[in-house]
Amino acid sequence: MTNYIIRRLAQAIPQLFIISIILFTLMQAFGDPVATLGARNPPRPEEKERLRRQLGLDQPVYMQYITWLVGNDWQKIDMDGDGVPETPGQRKGILRGDWGNSLVARRPVLEMIGERLPNTLILMITAEIVIIILSLMIGLVSALRPYSLFDNIVTGLSFIGYSMPVFWLALMLMYIFAVNFRRWGLPYLPTVGMFDPAVGKTPAEIIKHMILPLTTLAVISTAGYSRFVRSSVLEVLGQDYVRTARAKGLKAMYVVFRHALPNAALPFITLIGLDIPFLLAGAVVTERIFAWPGMGRLFLDHTERADFPMLMGILMLISIAVVIFQIITDVVYSFVDPRIRLE
């Protein structure tokens, strides 16, 4: 097992290296970060030239990549534009733990990610737990009573939930529960943000502000997941070993939970394993609408400004998480499914 994990980690290194080259090349398509530094008043051509030089954006792409990867602290750079490099480079490169500085905020990328990650994780992990529990329950009940009234209603609702655009659902929930409930004098929820400034950032406030974004995420994902659980449980229930278990006279619930569910859960675990790394990325649309200060918005804001060190930071973080969770998923598999041995 240990050997297997070490081997997989060793394989991950060239994998991540190739990913970083591909991403860095794609970054060039985002446009010119210097052009957006002026916002309403675009910088004049001479200013753009100076900024490009000082930020190192006048270098060829491969040099920029090398600086991003291993730094430039062994060479001097030309800050004053006289053609003679005079200022020692400061960058250490991602391999030495320096993820670079955001071009627009002028702050370390890792620090900025560190501020947003907890907010995203609070929302996304809670949402994921709710989604898993709800979809398991709904999926199981539907599968045990296929084509019953409950199943038909749930199937109908699932298709509605699955086909609703996120932004539409989010705004509808906001207008119903935050705007109109307040207008009608009913107990209401807040519209945007993580807390009410008059109260402060207390756990109760965060929970209250999390209800609507959480509901938005849960409605849409539960719809799809519960269908998935339903079909895999249905498939397993038709297997010979389940029939054998029933024929032995085992209790119905025992058969479902001891014989059917562990087998039906395998594909579900794969799905969740693939999903978890993307929890780090946050929910772009939901975070934007509910003004939730998470990773999705960090990515979006810095995409608009073509801030490639920040985008590289976020994308590499997700890439690393994907690789790691793939390994974890495989390891978990070997525990859940005795047929699998990792050697």
Partner: protein
């Protein structure tokens, strides 16, 4: 016994309450309430050296006042100085090349340190230092030769030549030397200073408290400011989605909403708690006319045809049907939304299709082949009318197409996505290349409320392969206009400069080198619970010290 104890207790309580009340009365001013503002964009950096974002600039009225601010009439009034420099008070030298700022002796930084001329000199040095990767050095790099501290209360700015736009560009922020000099000395740059993100020391009615990325910025009352505020704190919430901001405004979760559009007004004001107000930001929805002989339709070179275009367009009903006439009236000149430079004497050309037809007839553009479109020397009068893909502009295009058809002008409607519409000559920008006759978009002077907009009209700014960044996409090249624009740029006295602008406006109006569509002010929502708000265009939150919240 029990009763005695009770009365003794109540007497004690009464006494302590009285004492507490007396003690409170003698203390420093008290602050109460929180004003909440929604921002649809988050500032990237709070240090003015590293941000050109409007959303970063407007926060400075809370915590980092400049030498002067602009009131609700966009008139400058002193903040850090005793008076606005002028030729009469000696603040502007006779040759217009020296500006003298007299500092208020009673202004201190929020930590109590005195603010002196050294802070101003330090600010200039930091803007110009090669060690700092600042966003822009305008106007210090090209127009200022030196900044000196004559004495602790006197700052002298020497210009290389008389510099007109000083009021909007010189010392609209000052950096605290006592905080930042040690950082610069030890790190060699201000690029990574903690102050950029958490400017704990400032100069204004509020002082920075906290900035949680993506969430909010909090400013607390600053008792050391010369005009102490009434509020306890200002809370700015980042709310990137327009529709969500609208919901927050309607629900009362925010007192001030920003960056609104005309179509939201009725919905926002429906509940009765919210009022939408407009401030002049310099922008007008505009028609820029291509008069470059090399690229324009030949008819565009004739002033009577251009006048006929203005007369044939019913801008008044467009504004009435698609916008709000009281917020977005039709403008006559490029400067109608720039306070102090709007001309009341010039009225927009009226809607008069008959006169338009007459002018076109006289110019020789008649429908000789009976196809419904005028022509001359075998050239049909079909004009290329280009704009972005914005829905409102497409609707305007459709209406104008019909109006022009009634006077016999044909149209080719062109729409470009905004990422290529404003590209420069080398990047194939359709306007820079002159691939249009009329182009519509919203534009402002370079740095409102300053009127400077020369680059759109100077001969030397005509875009070409040799001058790809040239901003004169219309090919305007008129000796008289050129001279006037160059003249105004070097008049440091605002009144004298205005006289030149009057001539510029009259000339552009007579020659129909510009057709205004409507004023495009900045729209804000204000909740009735927040009182005393009196927004201005250039420095919206100038009177934040007067704001009050009622429950």
């Amino acid at each position: 016994m029990k009763q005695k104890l009770l009365s003794l207790l109540s007497l004690l309580m009464l006494a302590s309450m009285l004492l507490a009340a007396c003690g409170g009365g003698a203390a420093a001013p008290t602050f109460s309430g929180t004003a909440t503002i929604t921002f649809v964009q988050e500032p990237d950096n709070l240090n003015p050296l590293y941000s050109s974002m409007w959303f970063s600039q407007i926060t400075r009225e809370f915590w980092l006042k400049g030498a002067w601010s602009f009131d609700a009439n966009s008139q400058p009034y002193p903040e850090l100085v005793t008076e606005i420099p002028s030729t009469s008070n000696g603040g502007i030298s006779a040759d217009g090349k020296t500006l003298t700022l007299k500092l208020r002796p009673d202004v201190t930084w929020s930590d109590g340190e005195a603010m002196t001329a050294d802070d101003f000199v330090f600010t200039y040095d930091m803007v110009m230092s090669e060690k700092n990767i600042v966003n822009g050095r305008y106007p210090y790099e090209d127009f200022v030769s030196s900044v000196e501290a004559k004495d602790p209360q006197t700052v002298v700015v020497n210009f290389t030549e008389p510099f007109a736009p000083w009021l909007t560009s010189i010392f609209n922020f000052v950096l605290p030397k006592h905080v930042l000099q040690p950082v610069f000395d030890s790190e060699g740059t201000l690029d990574n200073a903690a102050w950029n993100r958490a400017p704990s020391v400032g100069v204004g009615p509020f002082v920075f408290q906290e900035w949680e990325s993506g969430s909010h910025i909090i400013f607390k009352a600053n008792p050391n400011w010369i005009r102490p505020p009434k509020l306890e704190q200002v809370f700015i919430r980042m709310t990137p989605d327009d529709a969500a901001q609208e919901a927050a405004i309607i629900a009362g979760d925010t007192h001030i909403g920003v960056f609104l559009s005309s179509d939201q007004i009725d919905r926002l004001e429906a509940g009765g708690d919210v009022k939408v107000v407009a401030t002049p930001g310099g922008y007008n929805e505009s028609w820029f006319l291509n008069v470059n002989p090399a690229t324009a339709h030949p008819a565009m070179l004739d002033v009577n045809v251009r006048k006929a275009i203005a007369l044939a367009t019913d801008r008044f009903s467009i504004v009435k049907d698609l916008l709000k006439p009281d917020i977005n009236p039709v403008n006559a000149t490029f400067w109608d939304n720039t306070p102090g430079y709007a001309t009341d004497s010039l009225e927009p050309y009226p809607y008069d299709p008959e006169q338009a037809k007459q002018l076109l007839d006289e110019a020789g553009w008649v429908d000789s082949n009976g196809d419904g479109t005028r022509d001359k020397d075998g050239v049909e009068l079909i004009l290329r009318y280009a704009t972005t893909t914005r829905e409102l502009r497409k609707n305007v295009q459709a209406v104008v197409q019909q109006q022009w058809a009634q006077v016999g002008i044909g149209t080719e409607l062109i729409n470009h996505s905004s990422d290529i519409f404003w590209n420069n000559y080398n990047d194939g920008g359709p306007q820079a290349l002159g691939e249009y006759d009329i182009s519509e978009y919203s534009q402002s002077p370079d740095g409102p409320p300053d009127p400077e907009a020369s680059q759109n009209w100077l001969c030397s700014e005509i875009a070409s392969a040799d001058n790809p960044d040239g901003a004169n996409w219309q090919g305007v090249c008129d000796d008289e206009l050129d001279a006037l624009f160059k003249q105004q740029a070097t008049i440091a006295d605002p009144a004298a400069r205005l006289a030149v602008y009057r001539q510029i406006q009259q000339k552009m109006y007579d020659e129909v080198l510009y057709i205004g569509m409507w004023k495009d002010p900045d729209l804000w929502s204000i909740n009735s619970k927040l009182q005393g708000v009196n927004l201005s265009g250039p420095t919206p939150f100038w009177n934040a010290y007067e704001w009050e919240v009622s429950e």
